[in-house]
Structures are given as C-alpha cells and as structure tokens.
C-alpha cells in the first residue's frame, strides 16, 4: 500500500497541474473576445432611456458588478479566489441569476446522463468486441461494419435518428426536455416517472455511440492477445479455453481503460451537443444559451466545469487502472 501511495500521489500532482493550466486557459481565452459584453446588456437595459448620464451610470455600475474595469491580472486573482468559493459571478444573459445558480440546475442532468451512459456503453461494447474476437465468423462479419458505422455517426446524428423513430413516428417517448413541461421538479412519483421516460432517448443514443467505438477497440485488442505466444503455449499445455479466455480479456481490457481515458474528452464533447437535440436541461443547452447571449462568465464557468469533470474522470480511471494492472501492482510491491 505504501508503494501505491507514491503512484497515486504522482497522479494527483499531475491532476493538480492540469487543473491549474485549465484554470488559466479558461480565464484568458474568453476574455480575448472583441467587443464589450457589458455594453451589450446595458444597451438592452437602457432601451428607451434618453438620459445619457443615466446610461453612463448604469454602464459603470455593471462594469463594477462584472469587474471588467479592472486590469486583467487583477481580474484573474479575483476570479480564482471566487471560483474556489464556487462563486462565478453573475450570468450576463440571465442576469440577475448567478452563474453558480445556472450551473447548479444543469450539471446534475449532464452527469446523471453521461456517467451511466458511458459506463453501460463501455461494458456492452467491450463484451461485444470480445465476443466478436473470440467467435469470429458470421458474428464478427456483421458486428464490425455495424459498429464502425455506429461509431462514425456523430452523437447528435444518432440522437436525431432515435428521436425521429421513437419520439416522432412511433410516439413512444417524449421528444424534448428532461421532464414533462407541466411539472415542477419535486420528489413526487409522477415527476420521477416523467424524468425516467425523458431519460431513455438521450441515454440510449449515447450508449449506442459508445458501444460502436469500444467494440472495435476491444475486438482488435482481443485478436492481438489471442494470437500471443502465451495463449498458444497455454493451449499446448491443455489449459481449458474458458480459463485462457479470462486471461486474454483481462489483458485486452487494460488498453481499453487507457483508451477510454483518452477518448473521454471527445465523448463528453459530443454528448453535450447531443443534449441540445433533446433540449435536455444539461450543460449543452447552457452553452447554447450562453453563446446566444454572448455570456462569457457563463461560458467560462461551463467549460471549466466540463474540464474538471473530465479531469476527475481521468484521475478515477488512473486509480482503477493502478489496481487492475498487475505490472503496476508488482512495481508498487517492491
């Protein structure tokens, strides 16, 4: 366990470094935007006002409120201090709501949708890929092109196709939103049922996309492993196929975990866009409204949250990997 502490400590320091870089990037990039977003909301607020001093006063009050009148380094210090307290300032497009408030109402939808979808898709995809590698023949010949095509579909494309088939044509499932438009979020049975029903289409479209990519990767890895010398040797030794297959798939799974860690950013990006298709009340829809409203505090905070989500997921996968990979285990035992 002592060795493990060093392994995890190293991973954790790396996690912190990326976090800091992500912070800096998140702060600087949106602020390079040309044009003055505060001027835009002031123009909206001051519609119909003829008093120039009054408009000027409103403008100054808002620059003070959003802190855009201070030099950039000072803004950064304030930003970091506030962000650590979970305070991202006011949303420009949904003023007077705070960014934290907007995010709080959308982040759980995104996590609740994507985490299970990616896990289920990963498991199913790996099982199918392994089966294709082991059985070969007809099953493989069908599965490979189908998964290739599924993984070629963009997440929003799969979302649209499922939505049109099951939502619009067959009318089995609702087409948009995270819950019925006539309900107020609470813990009643009808609300929970509505959430479950609205969950199906976004969930399965993400699962199907994930299955495709994972199945292809797992198939290749398993074929590599099945051709490895230790498999041939074990066969000569007369070890039962069942036992060999267990080892093979365990070995093939390790690169798949790394692969998942590497692909996570792209997957979450695509899934966020797929949320837009369903008007799902998650981070995707938040980005959409933030872009429309030229709302840089909101964009910055949303992307920061997305990055942190990916970083945490990555860190978690590193830990899982550390426990699963016998090589790391052996190295830590010394």
């Amino acid at each position: 366990m002592k060795g493990y502490r060093r392994y995890f400590g190293g991973k954790f320091i790396w996690f912190l470094i990326t976090l800091v870089v992500a912070f800096v990037l998140n702060f600087t990039l949106p602020r390079l935007m040309p044009g003055d977003p505060v001027a835009a909301i002031v123009a909206r607020m001051a519609q119909g006002m003829s008093n120039a001093t009054g408009v000027q006063a409103i403008y100054e009050q808002y620059t003070e409120l959003f802190g855009t009148n201070k030099p950039i380094p000072e803004q950064f210090v304030i930003y970091v201090r506030n962000a650590l307290r979970g305070d991202f300032g006011y949303s420009i497009s949904q003023y007077p709501r705070t960014v934290a408030d907007v995010l709080r109402s959308s982040i759980f939808w995104t996590i609740g949708l994507q985490l299970p979808a990616i896990i289920v898709g990963w498991i199913l995809g790996n099982a199918l890929g392994a089966l294709a590698a082991y059985r070969r023949g007809q099953f493989d010949r069908v599965l490979l092109p189908v998964s290739l095509f599924a993984s070629s579909l963009p997440a929003f494309g799969m979302a649209v196709v499922l939505l049109v088939i099951f939502g619009v044509s067959l009318k089995w499932l609702p087409t948009s939103g995270g819950y019925g438009f006539d309900l107020i979020p609470n813990l009643s049975l009808s609300f929970i049922w509505s959430v479950i029903v609205h969950y199906q289409l976004p969930f399965w479209s993400l699962v199907l996309i994930t299955i495709g990519g994972q199945a292809i990767g797992m198939r290749s890895m398993s074929i590599y492993e099945l051709n490895a010398d230790y498999v041939k040797y074990s066969r000569f030794m007369g070890i039962k196929d069942n036992k060999i297959v267990r080892y093979v798939f365990r070995n093939a799974m390790l690169p798949q975990i790394t692969g998942l860690a590497l692909a996570l950013g792209t997957m979450i990006g695509g899934a966020v866009v797929a949320e837009v298709v369903f008007s799902y009340p998650g981070l995707g829809s938040t980005i959409l409204t933030a872009v429309l409203g030229q709302d840089y505090p909101l964009i910055s905070a949303t992307t920061l949250i997305l990055t942190i989500m990916v970083l945490i997921a990555n860190f978690a996968l590193e830990i899982v990997y550390g426990f699963l990979d016998p090589r790391i285990k052996a190295a830590q035992a010394d």
Partner: protein, 416 residues
C-alpha cells in the same frame, strides 16, 4: 510502393471506404458544374417545401393541351383532395346516422363517397352536433358535389377598363399538359430548408466545404503532431520532456472545450470557414504527436539509424530518409482520422452556434444547426436534417473503413 498499393487495394474494407469516399468527392466536384445555382440563394417563400417536381401553374395552363381519357383519373382526383380529417369527419357522421362501423373504410375513397351520397342529407340532426359541425358538413357536401360532377374550371382575367371578369379559357378535367412543354419546372429532389434554399444544392456545397475544413484542419494537426513527435522522440532530453509535458496536458484537457473557448473568443464576425478549420487543427494534434513520438523512440536506436549517424548525416537527413519512411503509414492513418474528426468537430461546434458565420458558405454543421433550430426533426421535415446526418456519417464511415483497411495491411496481427 507499388507492392504496398496493390496490397492496400486488395483489402475489402479499404476498397469499400475508398469507393464511398470517391463517389462523395466526385459528386462534390461535378454537381456544381452541372447545376450552377448559388447554394445560399433563397428561392422558396416559406419554410420546408417537401421534395418533388415544382411546376409553374400559370405556365402549365398556357402549355399545349392533350386529352387523355384515363379511367382512374376521377377516383385519384377525389382521393387526393379528401384530406384525412375530412375522411374522419365523414366516418363520424356516417356512424352517427347508423351505418355499421364495419362497413366504413376511410381508405377506400369510392365506397366512402357512395355511402356519403346515399346517407347524407343537410337536414340530418345527430344529438350533440353543434351548428358549426352542421355548417362544416354542408360545406364538405358542396365540395364533394363539385368533385363528383365532372365540370371543368373556367379561367378568367380582369378587364382593366370595367374591372369585370371575362372568361378566356376553360380547363377540362381530361386535359393534360406535357411537363416538358411547361416553361418553368424546378426539380427540388430534397425540397427546401427553413430559409427556402434548395437543400440538395446546399448539401453538396456544404459537403465540399466540410471536406475542405477537414483537409485544412487535418493537415495542420498532422503537421504539428508530426513535428512535435519527431523532435520529442528523436532528440530526447529536455526537449522531449517539455513536449511530453505539453502533450500530456492537452490529452487530459479536452480539445473540444478549448475549441469552444477559442471559437467564442474569436467572435462571430471573424469566424470564417478557414478560421474554424485552423482552430480545429490547432486543438487536435495531440494524438498524432503521441503516436509519432512512440514510433520514433522505437526507431531511434535501430541499426540503420545508428549507421546513418556514424556516416555523419545531418539530423534532417536522418529524419527524412531513415525515420519518416517507417512512420509514413502511421502518419497517413492519423491524418485520415484527423480529417473525419475535424468534420465532426465542425458540426458539433456549429450546432452550439460557434461554427463559421452563416452568410458565407454552407457547411454540414450549419445546415444541421438551422434544421434543429427550426425543429425540422420534430415537424417531420426529414429532408432538412436526414441527408445531412447521412452525409456526415458516410464521410466518417468511409474514412474509418479506409483506416481499418490500412491498419490491417500494416499490422499483420489484425488480419483475418
């Protein structure tokens, strides 16, 4: 080289992908030569005209007429005019007056009409029928009478002096115009979009633009990844450490998030298709850099490279002659992948409203964005979104197929 090419083209997967991709490419190149309309020209007044052949009504009245006596013409005409709601209303009334429900078949126009003529009477009074309903049935009956009688339509023009209508012509029910003799006919194989633009023309141009975005982004990403991978892998030491640090950093920080931030910072005005392509390229080199670096490290200490070093060749010479040829296949495969991910990235960005500005050129992502904003998918206007999804999927699918094919050729362990 010749041998490798022959081997590649023996792979079924590669050939399938290659054929699909070539067909798309040929369409993109040759379609604009045949149909020269501007893809962004707004031709339809209204949203989402369904696919079909659009014939100018005025021109078809003035076209030469031919008399064709077709037996089923009347039945087809009536069937075409009777909307589904009307059929349901007829059924409701018939049930109301006591016709057994089993006898009524709303899809069989002829028997429905016979039942109607036999049973309808304007003085009918069914309990619960409102006055509005009664008037509706009277109107329906009148229009059905016109349909059943084989009267023609009179064409009249307004006399400019007296403002009175003067009949100039009569169109009989058995008169036909030859569509080739009608002056104005427009074929819209995929209808129009929400702005009234021809979807097919737009789709083909958009595919071309998206492919070019993919090409530019793929070239930039491959170039950066190749340089970083070669430098890090070959030079080693502090250069490698720095490159590995940066690469690892950007592997974990999602490129998509950076893409959102940069596109947002650039602003709508400055965001042309080329700029978007460059931004995508700048954020997606990580994979290539990693792959190239790993390959170069395994090549660095091979005998032929050492021999080259001993012979006093320059670093540039060693890299281009002794290392690049060995990793060329990986670089090509990485480039193909970059191309398809860049096209997807553009589509994703555009849906969020961060794609190229809408007024210049259509892209697949922008078409998808407008279709989604105007709810084409919920309204059942399949021609506005489905060809776009299919286009993106086919491009990505063909590229992935080619990639898998190449992979199997260059990695014998994966061969079937």
């Amino acid at each position: 080289m010749k041998h490798t090419l022959r081997q590649i083209f023996r792979s079924g997967k590669f050939v399938t992908g290659f054929v699909i991709f070539s067909v798309i490419l040929l369409l993109v190149i040759f379609y604009p030569l045949v149909i020269t309309d501007s893809p962004l020209q707004i031709i339809g007044q209204g949203t989402f005209f369904p696919p079909g052949v659009y014939v100018n009504i005025n021109d078809s009245i003035n076209a030469p007429r031919y008399i064709l006596n077709l037996e089923d013409a009347a039945a087809k005409r009536i069937a075409g005019r009777l909307a589904d709601d009307d059929r349901a209303a007829i059924r409701e009334l018939l049930v109301g007056v006591g016709v057994p429900e089993a006898d009524i078949d709303v899809t069989d126009t002829e028997s429905l009409l016979t039942l109607w003529v036999n049973n309808y009477d304007s003085s009918i009074n069914i309990p619960g029928m409102t006055n509005a309903d009664r008037n509706y049935y009277i109107r329906l009956n009148k229009s059905l009478q016109v349909l059943i009688s084989d009267g023609g339509v009179t064409i009249a023009v307004t006399n400019p002096d007296t403002q009175a209508l003067e009949a100039t012509d009569e169109v009989d029910l058995s008169q036909y115009a030859n569509i080739r003799e009608v002056a104005n006919v427009r074929v819209l194989p995929l209808g129009t979009d929400n702005f009234g633009r021809d979807v097919l023309t737009q789709l083909i141009t958009a595919t071309g633009v998206s492919l070019r975005i993919g090409l530019v982004a793929g070239l930039i990403a491959t170039f950066i990844g190749l340089i970083l991978g070669l430098l890090g892998g070959y030079l080693g030491g502090i250069v490698d450490d720095v490159i590995v640090f940066i690469t690892n950093l950007f592997t974990v920080i999602p490129g998509f998030v950076l893409l959102i931030l940069i596109s947002f910072s650039i602003g709508q005005e400055q965001r042309g298709a080329f700029v978007v392509a460059v931004v995508i390229g700048l954020t997606s080199w990580v994979w290539t850099a990693r792959a190239v670096r790993a390959q170069v490290i395994s090549l660095r200490n091979r005998d032929h490279v050492n021999l080259s070093k001993l012979s006093g060749h320059s670093i540039a010479h060693i890299i281009t002659r002794d290392i690049l040829p060995y990793i060329a296949s990986y670089v090509v495969m990485a480039f193909i992948l970059q191309l398809s991910t860049a096209i997807l990235a553009e589509a994703n960005l555009s849906i969020l409203g961060l794609g190229p500005r809408t007024t210049d050129v259509p892209t697949l992502g922008l078409m998808m964005r407008w279709a989604l904003i105007y709810q084409a998918h919920i309204l059942g206007k399949w021609w506005a979104y489905f060809p776009v999804v299919l286009g993106i999927a086919l491009i990505a699918f063909s590229l992935n197929l080619m990639n898998t094919g190449l992979d199997q050729v260059f990695n014998p362990a994966l061969r079937d």
